[in-house]
Structures are given as C-alpha cells and as structure tokens.
Amino acid sequence: MERFTEGSGRRIVTVDNTTVDIACAIHSLSDADLVRLKALARLWARGLPGGLGWADVLHEAIARALEGSRKWPPDVPILAFLSGIMRSICDDQWRRARRELEVLVRGEDVADLCASGDEVKSPSPERVVAAAQSLAAVDRLFACDPLALKIIAGLAEGLTPTEICKFYGMSERQYDSTRKRMRRALVRCGLEWSVP
C-alpha cells in the first residue's frame, strides 16, 4: 500500500494515504452524489434494531472507512465502498441485538459470548420479521410497476439480469427501462422515505 511519510526530528509520522484519499473523495462528492449517499444510508438503515437511523449508519460508515479497517479497492466508486460498509454495519447491528437478547434470556455476560466465539448462525426471530416487513415495504414501493416487481423478485433470489429476463419473458429493453424507473423511485424514496 502506498504510504506518505514525513520526517520531523526524531519522529517519523506515517499517514496511510488511503485514509487521506477516502477523506478527499468524500469531501469532493457532488450534490447528486450526496443525494445518492443519503438514499443508500436510508436503504440500509431501514428497520434496523436499536433505533439506528440513516444518519447514524452514514456517520459510522465514514468513521470505519477512515479508520482503515476496510480497504478501499482501487476500481470501486466511493459510494459503492461506503454502501458495502453500511451493509456490514447492518449485519453487525443485528448480531449485536441478538447477543443482547441472549444475554437477557440466558443471563450470560456479553463478553463471555463474544470471547467464546459464539457466532450466531441463524437470524433472530426479530430479524426475520423485520426482513419480511422490509421486503413487503419494497414490494409496496413498486406495487404499481409489475415489471419492477418481477425484477425485485429475481434480485431477491440472486438471479442475474439475463436469468430474470429469461424467467419472466422480459426483453432487454424492458429490463433496462424498468431499472431506470426503479433507480428514480429508490432515490425519491431515499429523500422522502416513508414507504406506504
């Protein structure tokens, strides 16, 4: 990794250039980028336990990015990088909520659970319910757009665009124009965010 080193007397100060680049990239985001960033934060923050809001998620994502615990790959846009971190925060938050619940139920110490490497494999019932509600909310967001609903269903199942088109008998042109409508709806929703 490229590093920047400055000597000063006996002290050598080394700055991780990635941290500087990340800070610079975030500071340089355009207005449209900021709108997209907020939409991303709202997307990931939706339904999180512990009352975490989009601003908390975004703040934490920036802090983690600057911390350098996660490296910024060269060809990944800064928004995609931050979105990936927000995904991790989302996962972490659900794991923490599950651990806290176990502490309450079993009366164990959180530190013991963490120290024993008690990695939770299955999701908590709360997470399953919240996920089902969020999926329903996304469906409602696109309720007036049958093609978008098909794409949503395909994406949730992990299908590729080609597979979605083939499975639902959609042309490439229909797929692309539907995705454009979806993108606008998602950004809009990121601004207003109250999915009916």
């Binding site: 920047f4 500087v20 340089s28 985001l29 900021l34 709108v35 928004l79 989302c90 601004l191």
Partner: protein, 112 residues
C-alpha cells in the same frame, strides 16, 4: 421445498438496490428529485427548481460528513489546499501533538 429466509433475500435485494442507486446518473437523480415535490409535472423547469429546494437535504448530508471527518481522532482535510492536518495518532506510527503536523498532498480530483 426450501425454507424461506427473508433476511437473506433482503440482504441480496438491498445489495442489488444499493448498486442501482450507485449507478443512478445525475439526470436520474434530478428527475427523482423533481418527482419528490408536490408539483409532479416533471417538466425541465420544475426539475431544476426542485433541485434548488433540495439544497437543504444536501447541506444536511454535507454537515454530517464534516462532523464525521472533522471529529477528534480523525484527520481534518482541506481539499482545496490539498493537505490533511493530523489531530491525533490513530493512523500514525508515532504520536505528534494535536494539530502539530500538516501533511501535504496533491489536491485530489472530484469523484464521479
């Protein structure tokens, strides 16, 4: 018959939708902003007026970014001057006094 795992479906979906937001063009963002207002006519004129109303939203995110990057323990970046002021030692091998170092770098280019 496989068991339905909504949390796994949701994560896959959010990731895909997140990618859609990342790849949204500036025009699509502006169109979305125009559609947000009560005036949904969608003409170019309305689209641009909606954009100006959106400055409050943008300012909110920018303030959040400033708060996150400008916090103690994090470097303070002046993009225009192209330097980063180190406040504390999180990314340093040795600890300078608070605000005692300024590391210069080339001004960065805007990300798009």
């Amino acid at each position: 018959m496989s068991r339905w795992e909504p949390h796994a479906d949701l994560m896959r979906l959010l990731e895909a939708l997140g990618n859609e937001i990342v790849t949204a063009t500036e025009l699509e963002v502006r169109q979305a902003c125009a559609e947000c207002g009560s005036t949904m006519a969608g003409t170019a004129k309305l689209m641009w007026s909606a954009w100006s109303e959106l400055q409050e939203e943008v300012r909110e995110v920018r303030e959040l970014i400033d708060a996150a990057i400008g916090e103690p323990g994090e470097p303070e970046v002046d993009v225009e001057k192209g330097h980063i002021e180190l406040r504390t030692s999180r990314h340093l091998q040795s600890v300078p006094e608070r605000g005692s170092r300024t590391c210069h770098k080339q001004p960065c280019h805007k990300q798009h």
